[in-house]
Symmetry: C2
Subunit: 221 residues, 2 copies
């Protein structure tokens, strides 16, 4: 019943997180009605994501600045033929000498990095792990990134960072991951901390659950 291009689109996009077959079908028909020029624009916006490279230190995606020397980082910018997004040099955060290299936030997603940067209260750098399994287990890529962090700490920070903030979500799953990560990183930092919990700004005490309110009491200042 579905025309082939619609079917292929639904197959490909329904696999993306938070897009199901229904939304994918609606999108497919919507996009098909936008006209050739808009369709091309959307296709190119996706294709361009392949131009991002991964920072060799923090593993976040970035576009190498045209004026930037790729050999500045420990890695080398190259487009990998293996179908992987290329490994790059250092991103703007990791190559910023005013950033405190001894303060590291371990995060799951690049969007978490953006949120933390918006606070303008963090002057360290990030290790982007990628989303952790719901059971708090580490995948092979995540283990690789953690050993890359430990190597950095050994070589550049004489074996111990000042502080590692395990910035996983304050959820049951995030707590589980935090336990795993803490075990994995023990001995690599003076302090291993997590983000504070409490009532969010704008929230009301009356409606806070007892766990949140307990945390708010513990962390009062």
């Amino acid at each position: 019943m579905l025309p082939n291009p619609i079917k292929n689109f639904v197959d490909a996009f329904a696999r993306l997180p938070s897009i199901g077959p229904r939304q994918a079908t609606r999108l497919a028909f919507y996009i098909s009605n936008l006209g050739k020029a808009k369709i091309r624009e959307l296709a190119e916006a996706i294709a361009d994501l392949a131009n991002l490279v991964t920072c060799s230190r923090c593993f976040r995606a970035y576009t190498p600045a045209s004026g930037q020397d790729p050999s500045a980082g420990s890695g080398q910018a190259h487009s990998a033929g293996s179908g992987q997004v290329g490994k790059g040099g250092l991103c703007s955060i990791c190559s910023d000498s005013t950033r405190d290299k001894s303060l590291i936030a371990v995060i799951e997603k690049e969007t978490d990095l953006l949120s933390l940067e918006k606070t303008r209260k963090f002057n360290g750098w990030y290790l982007v792990l990628g989303e952790l399994s719901k059971l708090g287990e580490l995948g092979p890529e995540q283990k690789l990134r953690l050993s890359s962090l430990k190597d950095f700490i050994k070589k550049e920070l004489s074996g111990s960072a000042e502080e590692i903030i395990i910035a996983t979500n304050p959820t049951a799953y995030g707590d589980l991951s935090a336990v795993t990560l803490k075990k994995e990183l023990e001995g690599n930092a003076g302090k291993i901390t997590r983000l504070g919990r409490g009532i969010p700004t704008g929230g009301e005490i009356e409606f806070a659950d007892e766990d949140t309110l307990g945390s708010a009491l513990d962390r009062r200042l």
Copy 2:
């Protein structure tokens, strides 16, 4: 802060229905981590939507079958250079001679057509209007499609269809659109109807709102 390819993706995709800037940002990073091959696959799935043509009678998108004679329809298959999805001949429903040409369902979206087809209870054809404004006003493209329908009724059905079903959603907005459409189509069919309202299969009387329950009483059989 956002790398350019991510920013461009978010700009383009956040404009699509039911995708906001947050989901677009999460998708951008997720897709960028899929690797070059998967990224190309997604880009091609979008680009291929431009290969769909619009049925010259019902205006739904379809892929012209390779063996089909495009001159069979009143239109001519051609890829328009104007940036528009090409106008085609007749789709599989409109060229199906066992379908009742005198029974027409006016629908908003192609996904509504799919749902109605799944019932296997409708043997007429559809006029796909495109989503109507929340105020029930008709856009220029929608006026064009309605006059195309009226032309068809005049030429092929000697001025009057047997029945036109106005299959807009049973919501306040859908009701408003139905009023507009009914006014627009008056005199072109023996009957102008809407889909029945009542308690959905699996629903419970206890939880049905009084409007739904009232409709269920009216339409009992």
